[in-house]
Amino acid sequence: MKYVDEYRDGKLAREIAERIRNEASPQRVYHLMEFCGGHTHAIFRYGIPDLLPDNVKMIHGPGCPVCVLPISRLDTAIELAVTHGVILCSYGDMMRVPGSRRRSLLKARAEGADVRMVYSSMDALKLAQDHPDREVVFFAIGFETTTPPTALVIHQARKLGLKNFSVFCNHVLTPAAIGSILDSPEAGELGLLTLDGFVGPAHVSTVIGSQPYERFADEYSKPIVIAGFEPLDLLQAILMLIRQVNDGRSEVENEFSRAVTRQGNERAKQIVDETFEVRDTFEWRGLGFVPLSALQIRPEFADQDAEKRFPVEYRSSAENSACECGPILHGVKSPRDCTLFGRACTPENPLGPCMVSSEGACAAYYSYGRHQESLIASDNSE
């Protein structure tokens, strides 16, 4: 397939892997975090760990929007559908995520709530046009990549004079999450988190540009390479990070120059800015409350804000105490370290956020069987 196969070329991959092996110093271990769940997924799907030397370790970050949405916000969405009788429109991968008492949107639908799976925010707007007698709420989640389409439908609804459409906004911010990981007392005090560099998500940077990451390079001395989601992009980014570490540099480099600029997409940033403002604080599954890490709809658009339109209240909900997703999302533990993993917690019956979406680290470990490889190793040695 054109524009895809070029980035999955096995021969080129082996050449880059060879360079990584030659340039990675055997005297040290490189701890590199891929922030985004899409990267985590690609790493396992293409078997990239097999191509890396043992001293280059990939640590999986919290960049999975479904995973980090707190139970309380999901409970609110379910409440909108059940108690307030709205047509609740959600992206597909949100549907199976368990909220309190393991109740999910799919289960609510089975009990009679009107929950629709949509593929874009525009589908939700169309439902509102088609059902003028019903309240339609778009359950908006995601990082900076999905925020501009949400802003667009809010403007469009106003332009069309739609009185029955609103948005339940849960958009979150990538740089705030990276800042939270670097500042995390958990990681800092325990001294557990060693991070030598970040692979930044290219799709987010097509919107916000590479500039917002510069402070991590400057203030925290962490190299960052913004990378695409194809396996060759990832390998190239890993090589670039190793070179920065070896040279003692900490810069923001752009591997995805085919679409990312320093400034990003000015028009997208502008409409986001016109529509949303930054929340004082927001709860993340696994990270807790993170200041200035999420967006809310500006008061000018209160009519389109489901949180203003419906009397909803938040009840913070506790995670399963044995769940290790917090430390996993911080990069200090691996899914294999969790006692629930693969036993009480599986993709069919997820307990923690990292297992709920295919982009979560635990789900990627589980689906692509990395947890089983230890079995293969032990089996072969017998």
Partner: protein, 348 residues
């Protein structure tokens, strides 16, 4: 063929709709059977109008399979529920190595369903049955109230006969066996997906829905040592390989680069975030045979119109952990696990 009764008005096959009376056992039902089902499926067993069919079978073991079809939408590029309901059961029978002979057909119709659509479905079933060399010899029709069905559900049961020298089963696969696939993956699932509400995208991909009885006949005639055949429908190739690995207590290794996938299917999967290994097929089979017969079997498959793109996609390994693994195009290895839930809602 003569009708049992003269009816005051012929069925309105253009504008008429299914009514509760069509399933009530009375005259309306008799007319539906006479003017629609009997016309289309015409054969000596059905025309006897008994509650059962009575037939002789050639020598050999009798093979039986059943499949219910609840697909939405009912009509899709490359097929419809009628043809699919024949192909599905014919293929389930054929995967044993048997030649399918007879089918039953049970319809559950929703009140209000257009008779024109029903006629289209029934005619498509008849054509599919003829192509597969099977007769639809007995049937049943029920009607449910409006809102309690999804237009039309069809159950078919098939019977076939298996020659003595063939022994194919999911638990007979041996380490060292080669894994052969008869053609491209994911065509059916992607064709269905392209029509789903809220997800209409333009594609030229058609469902691969087809009967594999003739391909199977050519394969078992040339290589009777085939250990197992399956058609990878729901859950895709990944589910089928895991089933076999479990049943036979073996591991399976496949090579991503050797698995045929159409460019359009690959592109659709790419932007929908799906993996072709998990997407449904309705006209493909996977076969396991001893390594020394693999090239011969491959040649037979490739000479058949339904197996032109056949490929050897992997091999069976001795592995007490019964893992299915794949060598990626990228040179890494990964597990191919069972799917945890449907990738697509209700596709067959």
């Amino acid at each position: 063929m003569t009708k049992r009764t003269e009816y005051s008005h012929a069925l309105d096959l253009q504008n008429g709709r299914v009514e509760m009376a069509h399933g009530s056992g009375g005259k309306a039902m008799a007319q539906l059977i006479d003017e629609l089902f009997l016309q289309a499926f015409s054969n000596p067993w059905l025309e006897q109008m008994n509650d059962q069919a009575c037939f002789n079978l050639p020598p050999g073991r009798v093979v039986m399979a059943t499949d219910s079809h609840v697909i939405s939408p009912l009509f899709f590029p490359g097929g419809d529920i009628g043809a699919l309901s024949v192909h599905g059961t014919v293929n389930d029978v054929a995967m044993s190595g048997a030649q399918p002979k007879y089918l039953s057909a049970g319809f559950i119709l929703e009140e209000g369903f257009p008779l024109a659509d029903l006629q289209r479905i029934v005619q498509s079933m008849a054509a599919a049955a003829e192509e597969a060399g099977v007769a639809i010899v007995t049937g049943d029709t029920k009607v449910v109230e409006r809102g309690k069905g999804d237009g039309c559900f069809i159950n078919t049961t098939g019977i076939g006969v298996l020659p003595d020298q063939l022994n194919l089963s999911g638990n007979r696969v041996q380490p060292g066996d080669k894994v052969l696939l008869s053609g491209t993956l994911g065509d059916h699932g992607v064709a269905i997906m392209s029509l789903r509400e809220g997800l209409t995208f333009e594609t030229t991909v058609e469902s691969d829905s087809q009967s594999l009885h003739d391909l199977v006949a050519a394969m078992v005639a040339a290589v009777p040592q085939i250990n197992c055949m399956r058609d990878p429908t729901r859950g895709g190739l990944a589910a089928t390989l895991n089933e076999i690995a479990q049943s036979s207590g073996v591991g399976i290794s496949i090579y991503e680069a050797s698995i045929p996938v159409k460019a359009q299917v690959s592109a659709a999967c790419e932007f929908l975030g799906l993996d072709p290994l998990y997407v449904a097929n309705e006209g493909k089979l996977v076969a396991f045979c001893p390594a020394d017969k693999a090239e011969q079997l491959l040649a037979v498959m490739q000479q058949h119109p339904k197996g032109k793109q056949a490929a050897i996609i992997g091999e069976v390994t001795a592995d007490p952990l019964k893992f299915v693994q794949m060598e990626t195009v990228f040179g890494g290895r990964r597990m191919v696990d069972w799917i945890s839930a449907e990738q697509l809602p209700r596709i067959c």
